[in-house]
């Protein structure tokens, strides 16, 4: 058993996690040996471009990666004193109050969804069932948690509890609705909490009767039903207009402060990261290439990719005459096409000979203990004599 070296305020610690998809075209390394922590009462940001593995990372934490994807290695430590006690003398890895969720049975991980981990997805329109009222869907989530907490052991068994069997019985016996009056009342309360006017009336409506912003609020209400410790928000505002985005971000922040929930904010928008997050990890080609506190990453970025990302976005206040884009395209994640060394080397303006060797994660030497970066530049200055690419090569002729 490894020693994960965890502080008390670490709620979730991901260590060396890799997720691969075994597709017909070959093995896709969606998440490559990723490590990070989620602390109590913080907002952790994960930022990256499309295909960088941010969403799969989130799904890997809650074990929702679907076939042909599989988590191939790594540990997900979660702090839960009761569970840790229960599994202390089993095969599972337990250190103090933390236990490694990868070593407990699948059904235990399943039982944590909703009550410990909860997710908000990008597209509320396709995440809710169009033929069931919004209130009913939220009540269902509440009901699941109510039944689970009334009988935690049954919850984890395969057939009973809130599982399939119960649902079939409820569906077949018409006099029994799955959700109870109490759950409905709680659903209305939740809708009110997320700022939906006339919650009692709106609960009776169907998703198509809601606007995009309202639906996202309803999604958040549903995610809160189990009073989770960790709320994973996967691009929660990407589909929304800026004025509505501002409403939703304010709401998420309020809920985070009120409920003391930790939030994992996954987005491609550096502005959203800056507004919401305490700490941030930058993902590129399945790896977290740089992580640290917000000010570490934004004010003193070490990795050329982070620098490039920050240089690519036009500034609202001060229009630069010319943007400094990162040349080239996001790489393919096919295992057969991945280079040995740094994945960013072919686009990197500061790539050197050493970048062709596998790169480890280093302390960024910026004075911040939390600032880590996966780049040789953390150890050595850029030396133009060792550069891989010639400078001043402006336009890309990208070839795939």
């Amino acid at each position: 058993m490894t020693d994960p070296d965890l502080d008390d305020d670490v709620l979730v610690a991901v260590r060396d996690l890799s997720t691969r998809f075994f597709t017909e075209e070959g093995q896709v390394n969606a998440v490559e040996s990723v490590s990070f922590e989620i602390r109590d009462n913080e907002v952790l940001g994960i930022v990256g471009e499309s295909g960088s593995g941010k969403s799969v990372t989130a799904l890997s934490i809650i074990d929702l990666v679907e076939s042909p994807g599989r988590i191939t290695q790594g540990e997900v430590w979660y702090r839960d004193a009761e569970l840790a006690e229960e599994f202390r003398d089993t095969n599972a890895s337990v250190v103090g109050d933390h236990l490694d969720l990868r070593t407990v049975p699948e059904r235990v991980r399943g039982s944590l969804r909703g009550s410990s981990f909860s997710t908000i997805f990008q597209d509320p329109m396709s995440s809710l069932n169009p033929s069931v009222t919004v209130g009913e869907q939220i009540a269902e989530a509440v009901e699941v948690q109510r039944r689970a907490s009334a009988n935690p052991r049954r919850t984890r068994s395969r057939t009973a509890g809130y599982g399939l069997g119960q649902m079939i019985v409820d569906a077949v016996v018409p006099s029994r609705s799955y959700t109870s009056e109490e759950s409905h009342a709680r659903a209305v309360e939740l809708l009110e909490q997320v700022g939906i006017p006339d919650p009692a009336d709106r609960a009776e409506e169907y998703p198509h009767q809601f606007s995009g912003g309202m639906l996202q609020r309803a999604m958040i209400a549903q995610a809160l039903a189990g009073e989770p410790d960790v709320l994973i928000a996967d691009e929660p505002t990407t589909a929304l207009d800026v004025t509505i985005q501002a409403q939703i971000l304010d709401l998420l922040r309020d809920l985070q402060t009120e409920e003391g929930t930790s939030v994992v904010m996954i987005t491609h928008d550096l502005g959203v990261i800056a507004r919401m997050c305490d700490r941030v990890g930058v993902m590129y080609a399945g790896e977290i290439v740089e992580r640290g506190r917000l000010e570490d990453v934004f004010d003193a970025p070490v990795h050329p990719y982070t620098q490039g990302l920050l240089g690519s976005i036009p500034d609202l206040e001060d229009p630069a005459p010319r943007l400094q884009p990162i040349e080239g395209n996001v790489p393919s994640l096919l295992d057969s096409e991945m280079p040995e060394g740094c994945y960013f080397a072919d686009r990197c303006p500061k790539a050197m000979q050493d970048c062709l060797e596998p790169i480890a994660e280093y302390d960024a030497q910026s004075g911040s203990p939390e600032h880590a970066v996966q780049c040789v530049l953390a150890r050595q200055e850029f030396d133009p004599a060792l550069a891989l690419h010639e400078d001043g090569d402006a336009e890309v002729v990208a070839d795939e």
Partner: protein, 472 residues
């Protein structure tokens, strides 16, 4: 709408500056695009009322030769429809578009063909806007083929070969490689496809290009490449752009002037720097305020966001369309209360008027009128008014307690009706060519203009824009 109406604010403001007539490449006046529902013969026979969706409702724009005009707004505000309508890809239902001094709607077939050579469009979605069964060479040369170009070829090359050569040049120019010419779109990434779309638009050597959200589907690093490319191409070919976008930082970067749209109308227009540093319309202000900046100073910043959603264009609000969300709605003379309280009263009134009040919600069992009124006061936050304002609200609540919702709404309307709901705001010149359609800029309001006070009140309430520019 008269085209010779030189009294329009837009003309006046520009005539005042150094703009010379004839530099305007595209002139849009009162452009309307309505979509009708229940408009079939069957509906007419059944006597169904035709319902119109006012996607674009009377907008004015001037696009100068060689500039980039940004058209910004939230989804559904009509910005894409505007772009397509002014290229006559959709037929406008009203208003005029003049291209290089000639009315686009009156072009004959041959003239329209010529217009199509001179005006092009790049679409938002690089995946659905390229035919997957054509090679990118065919895609880029399709326009040339349709227009029978080039008209003359060197003696030893066929027209076909000349086209292919042109396509290769264009591909190289937009940052692709000429030997990719026989590949299909699926072999390219999003950013590369957008480059193909740009090459296609450039093939006919246009003067004017409508860029409909050209970078919003792209990742930020690629987005910056495309923005730089568009910048370079504009310099090189002297292109005029209409840049449609919802991302304000992109607009700030690339546009010379900006027009902000809300619910089918242009609410503010002017120079990019002016609009971004000193927005005149409350909507522009809110929009800028909402954008998250990628900077550590952004951390924990709370935005006072606009409340509610954009209303439906099927049934837009009367008067100023932004008034249902506006944080600076103007109370009528004599009403003396702070903005938040006033807003609450108006919200109560609106709910009553729309019949969405739901009196029974406040009738908790057998509670008496006093308890009922108290729960309404609490729910809508209309406590704390004073004097005649408070009396009117009390009066309305009393009527409401008797179950007469419409009556209660009327009483509130009588006292609290705002100019923002009775009158559509005219365009007001805020100086420096910045024009905002907002009652706050009436001359008797926030910034009184010299010498215009006498006519100001009349003109502000008059729907047609008065000759304010002449006064100024």
């Amino acid at each position: 709408m008269s085209e010779t109406d030189t009294g329009r604010i837009g003309d006046g403001a520009q005539a005042g500056t150094d703009t010379v007539a004839g530099e305007t490449l595209v002139r849009v006046r009162g452009l309307e695009k309505y979509y009708y529902e229940n408009d079939t013969i069957v509906d007419t026979l059944l006597g169904r009322e035709t319902e119109s969706v006012k996607a674009v409702d009377g907008i004015d724009l001037d696009i100068e030769r060689g500039e980039t005009l940004g058209l910004v707004g939230e989804s559904g505000c009509g910005k894409s429809t505007t772009g397509e309508t002014l290229l006559r890809l959709r037929e406008p239902t009203g208003g005029t578009v003049e291209f290089d001094g000639r009315d686009v709607a009156e072009f004959s077939d041959t003239e329209l063909t010529e217009f199509r050579e001179r005006a092009q469009i790049v679409f938002q979605d690089p995946f659905s806007s390229l035919d997957p069964r054509m090679t990118i060479g065919d895609i880029v040369t399709e326009g040339l083929t349709i227009h029978g170009l080039p008209e003359e070829t060197p003696p030893d090359t066929s027209r076909q070969a000349a086209r292919r050569q042109r396509a290769e040049e264009l591909l190289e120019r937009v940052g692709l490689s000429a030997d990719q010419i026989d590949r299909y779109p699926h072999e390219f990434s999003g950013g590369q496809r957008q480059r193909i779309g740009i090459a296609r638009a450039l093939a006919l050597d246009p003067e004017f290009v409508v860029l409909d959200e050209p970078v919003s589907a792209l990742d930020v690093s690629v987005q910056a490449q495309i923005l730089n490319l568009l910048d370079d191409l504009q310099d090189e070919y002297g292109l005029t752009y209409l840049f449609i976008a919802h991302d304000l930082s992109v607009v700030r970067h690339i546009c010379d002037r900006v027009a902000v749209m809300y619910l089918g109308e242009v609410v503010e227009r002017g120079d990019t720097d002016d609009i971004f540093t000193a927005p005149s319309h409350p909507y522009t202000e809110a929009l800028l305020e909402s954008v998250p900046r990628a900077d550590t100073s952004e951390q924990g910043r709370r935005v006072d966001p606009l409340s509610g959603d954009v209303p439906s264009p099927r049934n837009p609000p009367s008067g100023c369309r932004f008034r249902t969300r506006c944080p600076e709605i103007i109370p009528p003379a004599g009403v003396d209360t702070d903005q938040a309280l006033y807003r609450n009263v108006v919200t109560l009134r609106d709910r009553l008027e729309r019949g969405e009040f739901g009196t029974e919600r406040f009738r908790d069992g057998e509670n008496d009128d006093e308890a009922f009124k108290q729960s309404v006061r609490e729910e809508f936050g209309v406590d704390g008014l004073s004097g005649a304002d408070a009396d009117t609200v009390e009066d309305a609540l009393e009527v409401l307690a008797n179950g007469r919702e419409a009556d209660a709404a009327q009483r509130l309307t009588d006292r609290f009706e705002s100019v923002c709901e009775t009158d559509a705001p005219a365009d007001h010149d805020c100086g420096g060519g910045q024009i905002a359609a907002c009652h706050l800029h009436r001359d008797d309001s926030r910034e009184p203009a010299p010498d215009a006070n006498e006519t100001a009140i009349e003109s502000a309430f008059d729907d047609t824009p008065a000759d304010l520019s002449d006064d100024a």
